[in-house]
Symmetry: C2
Subunit: 349 residues, 2 copies
């Protein structure tokens, strides 16, 4: 693979860049004219033939221009992965937006999704950060009506889950508050396992709620990601490869059925570290569902404590030059946010 000459490299990158822009097969003549190369088209043709033999380019049909192959894209991406940075002006704009919206976690998530989609012109997805090992922080029980109560659980890291329960019999708000207060005292900072090891409570209500909390914590640990924020679905439809609405439908369905998406994220994040990007190109590694699409993924957060995933989805011909730096930058921002939360907690102790 590294038998590529310098000239072949430049040529390959040029071809891919051009194809990403134009969505057209690129020919030797066009290449010479457009990029002021000091070579004749014949030479280019020879080189292109060589690159085609190596499997980096493809011809849609005899005597058409060349189109990058999956392999070609991968090479392209590997070349630019580690250098590309988002222009500073854009960085500023983005971080400014985040600064303005120093709202709650939900605000961050939607903002991140929106920024990713706009910058990369692809479909974005962001999962909320969730604690690797959830620690109990606080619970509130609020009577909403007769036997129904609202339970709000806060975990370390700022994760909040709310849930409506129906009790066997009505309970006064006062008693609920007492129960919550007792549990808050005795469970603070504990993990699921710690809680499981506690002796059974004498008060039946306390014990019931405790079980529910630990179930919720376990669930939060398992589900991995929970809600997925997305944006930019219609960007897909602007791409010529999705002019056929069948194609578009198939791809967008991925996003509508969140379960597939969660599965995908879960499996890919297994072998990825925070800070590192993962770029899935085409059906790479058994992801036939991706079809002719690509996915730029990154994890963010604080290793071992809390993390989430974010990424951009688009056609294989997506603008990696925009997507990759943007994903990396936004991942960095979100990591900082998570970090701040954690730091705040430590400090509070």
């Amino acid at each position: 693979m590294s038998e590529l000459t310098e000239r072949q490299k430049t040529l390959l990158l040029l071809i891919i860049r051009d194809h990403i822009e134009t969505a057209q097969p690129v020919g030797s003549k066009r290449l010479v004219e457009h990029y002021h190369l000091d070579l004749s088209s014949a030479t280019i043709r020879n080189e292109m033939a060589a690159l085609t033999d190596m499997g980096l380019l493809r011809q849609p049909y005899t005597s058409a221009g060349r189109v990058p192959s999956e392999e070609g894209y991968r090479y392209f991406v590997s070349q630019m992965m580690y250098q590309a940075e988002l222009p500073e002006t854009i960085q500023k704009t983005i971080s400014h937006q985040f600064y303005q919206t120093r709202a709650d976690q939900e605000g961050w998530m939607t903002l991140a999704a929106s920024v990713l989609a706009n910058q990369s012109q692809g479909v974005s997805m962001v999962t909320a950060p969730h604690a690797t090992q959830a620690r109990f922080k606080h619970v509130e029980l609020i009577s909403t009506q007769g036997r129904q109560i609202l339970m709000v659980t806060v975990f370390g890291g700022g994760e909040v889950s709310q849930q409506i329960l129906t009790l066997a019999e009505p309970v006064t708000q006062e008693r609920l508050s007492q129960t919550a207060a007792r549990l808050n005292r005795s469970l603070a900072g504990l993990t699921v396992d710690d809680i499981a090891a506690l002796p059974i409570r004498t008060d039946a209500l306390d014990q019931d709620i405790l079980m529910l909390i630990s179930a919720e914590m376990r669930r939060s640990g398992e589900r991995g990601s929970g809600q997925i924020y997305t944006d930019g679905e219609t960007n897909l439809l602007a791409e010529p490869e999705f002019a056929e609405s069948d194609e578009a439908r198939r791809a967008l369905k991925l996003f509508e059925e969140r379960s597939t998406l969660q599965d995908l994220i879960a499996r890919t994040t297994l072998n990825s570290t925070i800070g590192g990007l993962q770029v899935l190109i085409g059906g790479e590694g058994g992801w036939e569902q991706l079809g002719q699409c690509s996915l730029v993924l990154a994890r963010y957060g604080v290793p071992g404590i809390a993390s989430g995933t974010l990424g951009v989805f688009g056609p294989m011909r997506m603008s990696y030059a925009k997507a990759i730096p943007t994903v990396r930058y936004v991942a960095g921002l979100l990591s900082d946010l998570v970090n701040d939360t954690i730091a705040g907690e430590r400090e509070a102790k």
Copy 2:
């Protein structure tokens, strides 16, 4: 308009039904053969010409079959609006699903969106119910880190809003709990106006939180709908009128930009009563944004107390026969759910 003969009516309905099924212009011959009419195609042609003159049908081009005009669809809808009921088996399936998911409000909303989208094969949208005149019910203040606190406010009707605040200086959880307890005692059941009329609190923290609560209540009243749950976006892409991805993109963009959607819902619900359906066909009434699409909308809830909106969006050629009864039925179900919540609250007093 009501100068239509019986025969013309049947014919019109037949034509529209056929067109909705096939997405093709329907001709006189096809009509005779397909529906075993005791008439010749020539007679049908005459009637069709008459209907075309009245503006209920259109010819895409000379000597093609007829296609319903917007006016035609409107007539069609007005005919079936008040009779159509969802088949009982389907009703059972749906209510069963709702029964199983007797989760929280969010569960209901997503379920409603999913049911609507599946049944009608269109794009669904559902807004959470929100109180016409929000009444304060409960507040919880939870310290999450240093100066940041999580405020969970519960309104009458079960509406919950959570929000992260940053205080000027760190406050202990204990003090927060006391503040919450005091506010809960003195604000219970009050409306925004009531709260505004209260004397200023001596405790600065109490007063700050009180202001935030009243701001939140006002906001909740204004924003009208808040989050909009949608489902079935890809159903649009299956329709032949959206084979051109431009068209699809334009229509789906409506759904991505929630603001337009909210605006639309807000304006249409102004003059609609709970229980009554509204069907917007094409650009009817200055809704050019709808283009060649239709919208079946309904409000649900309890008049004067809490209400939300739900609806189905699709091409003008959408299956009203499915959409209308489904929207009506689901609106009924959600109304019942809201009603139960309210009833539960009254009973609790």
